[in-house]
Subunit: 225 residues, 2 copies
């Protein structure tokens, strides 16, 4: 358990000025928790005084919409999870659920803030992370609304392949209805398009195992709606 924080990516990245005493303070004010897939890591509406750092695993961020839960993004550790939720309010503004087994580090908010105050590199690291994240949501917005289901599903598959699993062969971590919810399509549409992709020999499916067989065509579909 020793030196856990030292190994944390975000700590490493701002190591040059994060003093040993600060690392130690982190060390004594955090708790590493494991989550099996399907479990909540952060729950909308709950009171919280922690910052959460996702060390390992994949999780979905979802928020209560007017009718149903809406998945807004999928994240992969290592990354901070609860920054936007934690800074505005002490009540969590969205939920995070593990879609694969996860390991998360809960840091006391006050300790986190104190280190943020003491350490300019750390705070600028956080500012950059938040900025990137917002940019990403702009891009997603532009993509999702302009493409139709085929293109968005292609995007999701490419995202899994390129960013989450770094392989052309992977197990779908979420159900088809979740994919549908995420890209704003019905479960049935996702299913139909997947079959279509299979019969067009773009992918192969074996249960939830997906093999991308024609990536360039998939990229084309992703681009052309």
């Amino acid at each position: 358990m020793k030196n856990e924080c030292i190994d944390c990516v975000c700590v490493i990245k701002s190591m040059h000025t994060l003093q040993n005493c600060q690392v130690e303070e982190l060390e004594h004010n955090h708790a590493v928790v494991k989550f099996k897939k399907g479990n909540f890591i952060i729950r909308q509406g709950m009171f919280s005084t922690n910052v959460v750092f996702l060390r390992k695993g994949v999780a979905k961020i979802h928020i209560a919409g007017p009718y149903r839960e809406q998945i807004v993004r999928l994240v992969k550790g290592p990354t901070y999870l609860g920054l936007p939720t934690t800074f505005g309010d002490k009540i969590n503004q969205y939920s995070v659920t593990a879609v694969l087994d996860c390991e998360a580090c809960f840091i006391d908010l006050n300790v986190f803030k104190a280190i943020l105050d003491d350490n300019r590199n750390f705070s600028s690291f956080i500012i950059q992370a938040l900025s990137k994240s917002e940019l990403e949501s702009y891009r997603r917005c532009a993509n999702r609304t302009q493409k139709q289901a085929r293109g968005n599903l292609a995007d999701v598959l490419l995202d899994f392949s390129d960013h989450i699993f770094n392989s052309d062969e992977f197990f779908l971590p979420i159900s088809q209805s979740d994919i549908g919810n995420w890209v704003d399509a019905s479960r049935e549409s996702i299913n139909r398009i997947l079959s279509e992709f299979i019969s067009d020999d773009i992918i192969a499916m074996n249960g939830r195992k997906i093999t991308i067989k024609n990536k360039s065509l998939l990229q084309l579909i992703s681009q052309n709606g």
Copy 2:
């Protein structure tokens, strides 16, 4: 021109620790520029070493999508404009266009960063602003995708009335096609729904002047899709 920065909302908010020398440094490293409606304030793809603070006016943030420009949000001064764009990259990642006459303050990025480093209150103010902004985009995402055109248009009208103009009577600052683009509907649909709202006596229109006549009904429509 003196004491311009002192009057800036963001400066005021972090005044307790922003030292006079810092304000002065801001004072000497910024430029206030006026924009007529329709003009670019920030242009995607352009090199920039400034942080932009929108002092007055209303502007739209839009980003190049796969097919067309996509409006992602409307903002009203006073607010920072280019934070996400400026921190990741020196190339602007999206555009901002004045939809009403605007007044923006261009601050040198290095000066801004230096003050950020020196001033913990200021940087935590920025972190909070970014967090809020990201939260907002989650919420918008959940709303837009789950509601249909009527509900989204109702949202837009309420947003104008409640947040931008603070009045039940206002001039639409953007065209119907822009509204359509923003809420992911066609110009024609927006037009038809507006007519519907008029004949249902929910709003009145006189050119671009809108009068909300039945706000509670509008709120109902906003909630129920």
